[in-house]
Structure formats: C-alpha cells, structure tokens
C-alpha cells in the first residue's frame, strides 16, 4: 500500500471550563479572552486519532497545522505528544481577525507549502464557534473533494477512501479518491491517551513557525482585511425570565403550578 500523508488542522479554542470568564469589551465589541487557557478541541483529537490510525495501516506522515498567536504552540505540542510527526504553526499579525474564509485560505496555503496532503483532517466543528465551515472551504481552495460529518472511514483500493456521512436520522456512504478533506465526528473513534514516549518524542521535535510571507499567502486575502464577513455588533445574552419560585409541601406546590400554568393558558383548564 502506498504511504498516506495526512495533515490535521487544529483550532486553538478557549478551554470550555473557563467560558464563564469570557467577557465582552463594550467599547471595542471584542471578547476579552485574556487569562483563559487554550485547549485542543475534543473533535480535533478525533481528527488526529484518525490520521494516526491511517498512518499505522499504510505508513506515511502525520502533520498537525494550526493558525494562531505564538501561544498556540502548546496545543501543537499536544499533537506531537499524541503521535504527530511534525507540527506547523501559521503565526503572523497579518493572520489576525480572520473569518472562516480567510482562515481557510491561510490554512490552504500552509498545506500547499507542506507539499499538499493525501488526506486533510478536521474536527467537524470547533467548540467555541462551531461553524464547521473551514474544512469545506480549505477543500475548495485546494481543489479537493470534501466529506464532513464522517463517523466511519476506511481505506479502499489503492487511492480511495470510503466515508460514512452522518445526516439527520441516517447516513450516506460515499467513496472518494484521495486527495480529500475529511471532517470527523466524535463517534468515529476513541482518541488515544498521551504516553511517556510521546513526551520524550516531543523533546526531539520543534514546532515549525511560518509567517504569511513564508507560505506565500496574498495579504489581501488573509486576516481581517481578507475576511468577507464582519462582526458589526456583539452582545452577551441574558435569558432571564420572571423566576417565580413556588414553595411549600410538594402536593401544594404541584397544585399551585398547575393553576399558574392554566392561568397562562399553557395547560387546559379542568
């Protein structure tokens, strides 16, 4: 079997345990994320796991790639500890403020600089934005087919993959020739745990850093200037309701609630 080279695209996301610390700067309409640690998204772990499994079956290389400020290296180190052969961080002020289009454009140029890939993996959606848009857009910029919502993946023949695209209450099985972009769901596999060897491995590896110029990206198509969408306003959501607490003995409270709901005409009156 031909060796298969995979690239796994990883998004740095604010650690979910600290989301309540995300606050809104009312003047600049930006989110304050200072002091909130970044983490490897759960689905990115599944994407990496799938790439590692393909490497185990067919040989080849697994490269993790991410775009973000210098601190993002930490999550790429995780990718190496878990088994990636190399990791690339696209880092440049010029990349900042990118929407999904401009993010996909930058990643596509990073992947081109790597010499392309047989399979480009994504987690189906990120934890914070959960748009799931970057995968198909990278595929468009690399002129590869894409399949998202994949919960089963097998190598078939010399140069193809069979993927199960999960849709509402069903699935579509497709066969697609490599190179291809695949976005995976949580149920596709059980990600491995880091090992001692992984941490030793990390000492011998360096995270490669590339700027916009390094990957040859058109400056007009990256970062905030390259983003077709703009955020015109950000608000925090309050979901407050009247919050009337009913108290007393369970049977009294139950009767009281039924009366209230009948008065609101959401339950039929007896």
């Amino acid at each position: 079997m031909k060796p298969i080279n995979s690239v796994v695209c990883i998004k740095p996301v604010p650690d979910q345990r600290f989301w309540d610390k995300v606050s809104l700067d009312k003047k600049t309409k930006t989110l304050r994320r200072t002091g909130i640690p970044i983490a490897l998204g759960p689905l990115d772990k599944n994407a990496l796991e799938e790439a590692l499994r393909i490497r185990e079956a067919s040989g080849g290389k697994v490269t993790a790639i991410s775009m973000g400020p210098p601190g993002t290296e930490e999550i790429l180190e995780w990718a190496i500890v878990l088994g990636a052969d190399e990791a690339v961080l696209l880092t440049d002020r010029a990349f900042a403020g990118a929407d999904t289009w401009a993010t996909a454009y930058a990643l596509a140029w990073g992947i081109k600089k790597l010499g392309g890939a047989d399979v480009v993996f994504f987690g189906n959606e990120s934890l914070d934005g959960s748009t799931g848009q970057v995968g198909p857009q990278v595929a468009e910029f690399l002129d590869m087919p894409h399949v998202t919502h994949v919960n089963k993946l097998d190598l078939v023949g010399e140069d193809a993959l069979r993927a199960r695209f999960h849709i509402e209450h069903g699935f579509i099985d497709v066969e697609v020739k490599r190179p291809v972009v695949i976005a995976v769901e949580k149920t596709i596999n059980e990600p491995r745990c880091p090992t001692l060897w992984g941490t030793i491995w990390l000492r011998e590896r360096k995270i490669i850093r590339w700027s916009a110029d390094d990957v040859g990206a058109d400056k007009a198509k990256i970062g905030l200037p390259g983003s077709p969408t703009q955020v015109s306003d950000v608000i925090t959501i309050e979901l407050k309701r009247k919050s009337e607490i009913l108290s007393g003995e369970p049977s009294d409270v139950a009767r009281l609630l039924v009366q209230k709901l009948q008065a609101d005409s959401v339950l039929p009156k007896g």
Binding site: D128, S130, Q133, E140, H149, F165, I167, H169, P228, V258
Partner: protein, 331 residues
C-alpha cells in the same frame, strides 16, 4: 440598479421529502423579500422532485430553480456545489440562506468559497440594517454571546439558519411558483464523490422540535429509574421528552432524537419543564423560544431558575408524582 437582487433559499430534500428547514427558510425569506420588495426564489435539487416545487410555491416561493437528474438522487457536495454555483450566476441573488442541517452545513461553506463570498453560520435571527445590509445573528460560546455578522462587499450575502428556530408560513393552497429548469451539464465520471449507499430512518414519532409541550431531564435526574418519572410526566401531558447531554452519554436518552441545545435540537413549545437540569448556556439557548419555562431542581442556586418562569426547589421523586396527580385531577 442593483446588480444583485432577490432572496434565494436552499430547499433541502431527502429521499423525495422536503425538509422542514427548507420551509422555515421560505418563512424568513418571505419577510425579507416583502420588506425589500424583492423576489423570493428556492433551489430544489434532486431526482424526481418536480412535484415538490408546487409545495415550495404554497409555502411562499415566487420562483423555483429546479435541477432534476438521476445524478442528483442522493446528496454529494461536488455535484450540488456545481448546481448552486450555476443558479447563483444565473440569478445573482442579493441574499442566499441555507439550513444548518448536516447537508446544509456541508454544502454552504463550499458554495461560499466557490463564489467567493462570506457566510455566517447557524444564525438564530436575521435582519436588514439601516444601510440595507443583511445581518445574521450568530451565537457563540455555547450561546452566551451573540454576534451580528454582515458581509458588506461580497454577493450573495450568505447565511445558514438553525433548523427549528424559525416559523414556516401558513400553507397557501394553490399559490404557484414559476419553475425554472437548471440543466445538469456534468456526467457521473466528472464527479469525485461516488454514492455507494444511503439509509434514512422512517420516523415513527413526532420530532421533538414540533412538540407543544416538552419535558426535559438533566444529569440531576440521577439514574435510569428516575428517568422513568420524567417519561411518565411527559406521558400524562402528551409531551415530547428531551435531555441535556449527560443523560444521552449515560444512555438514559437518545443523543440524536432527544438532546436539546446548542449542538442539539431547538424546541419551541408552549410549555417546557426542565427536571434536574442545572441550566448551562448550551442547553438554555435551545429552549429560548419556549412560551413558559418551568424548572424543577433540588439545588436552589441552579442557574436554570433565573431562566425559568416558575421554579420548584425540591426532590424530583417527591415533586413529579404530585405533579402528575395534580395534572390528572385538573384535566
């Protein structure tokens, strides 16, 4: 004269049935079209789906772009992208909205990249601002923040809409849409994706999104035995049973059919009763459109009480049987 005019929506169909989200999009599109005095068109792609065009007219479409071909029988991103691009180039819409279903979320970003425009994802609200720009409301961080996203210099202005969040219009029997046929110029061998199988489950019960009353349980329900109480209460009310993520992970409830929230379903019942649910933002965003919210939880500090109309602090094993009794007596 504006070069880009009209609102286009993607009328998703699976196995020859229109998805409910397609009709919801017509509802959104009709409002904008009327406000802007523009036309509302739908794209319908599939095989032997012609009759569905009439239905789209009855739900508000002025025009239907119909691509009907055996190659389009089952969704695949490459074939559908070519046709979407074709329709966009022909029609030059100002706005394009698709449903954020599995298929819509797979197709929309590809189309946006193909025609070089921006896309706001999983919107829960839409508006036209005072400069005539299309604004999509996009929730982030599990629903805790809401961003207004615009796409000021690229066309069409594209968005995906959260399924179940918007109302479809009343069906107007006999309302007609003009049907425009779209030619399929590619062959099977031109496509990189081959469909080798497909399966869609027949739904026996009414989907949770359509339920008038929803009773939902969280991790605080405590176990499979107690979960039966939740189901029993739902049974008395003729309600659908929903859940937060942990009960699905524990196997008390089904992830795909029952999970409510940011990464699950959106419900809009007249009455929602949450049992043993703490009230994380990801869940609350999915019940936001409920008319009346009731919370039952033993922790008086559970955030759900703030987001509820009525709260009962107490043990569900005590409360629910009394509640069932009270409801039986009253009805």
């Amino acid at each position: 004269m504006k070069e880009h005019k009209g609102i286009l929506v993607f009328a998703e169909q699976r196995a020859g049935k229109l998805s409910s989200v397609g009709l919801e999009l017509l509802g959104i599109g009709r409002k904008i079209a009327d406000k802007q005095q523009e036309e509302l068109a739908a794209v319908l792609i599939g095989h032997k789906v012609g009759p569905l065009a009439d239905e789209l007219g009855e739900y508000g479409a002025d025009k239907v772009y119909l691509a009907d071909n055996p190659l389009l029988d089952v969704y695949r991103s490459d074939a559908y992208t070519i046709l979407m691009q074709e329709v966009i180039q022909q029609y030059k819409p100002n706005i394009l909205i698709m449903g954020a279903t599995c298929i819509g979320a797979d197709l929309a970003p590809r189309v946006a990249a193909k025609v070089n425009t921006g896309l706001s994802a999983h919107c829960v609200g839409f508006d036209i601002d005072d400069q005539g720009r299309f604004v999509g409301q996009v929730p982030g961080f599990g629903g805790a923040v809401m961003a207004s996203v615009i796409c000021p210099n690229h066309y069409p202005q594209m968005a995906t809409a959260r399924p179940g969040f918007f109302e479809k219009l009343e069906r107007q029997k006999g309302r007609k849409a003009e049907v425009v046929k779209v030619d399929v110029k590619f062959k099977e061998e031109d496509l990189k994706i081959k469909v080798v199988g497909t399966f869609v489950e027949e739904l026996k019960s009414r989907p949770l999104e359509d339920a008038d009353i929803v009773v939902a349980g969280g991790y605080g329900v405590g176990g499979k035995e107690n979960w039966k109480l939740v189901e029993e209460l739902a049974g008395v009310l003729g309600a659908g049973v929903g859940a937060t993520r942990p009960p699905c992970d524990e196997g008390w409830a089904d992830l795909e059919r029952q999970m409510i929230g940011q990464s699950g379903k959106t419900v809009r019942p007249t009455l929602y009763i949450g049992v043993g649910i703490s009230g994380a933002m990801h869940h609350l965003v999915g019940i936001k459109n409920s008319k009346v919210v009731v919370a039952i939880n033993k922790d008086p500090n559970a955030p759900i009480f703030q987001a509820a109309d009525y709260g009962i602090v107490g043990d569900l094993c005590q409360i629910i049987p009394r509640l069932i009794e009270a409801m039986r007596v009253s009805s």
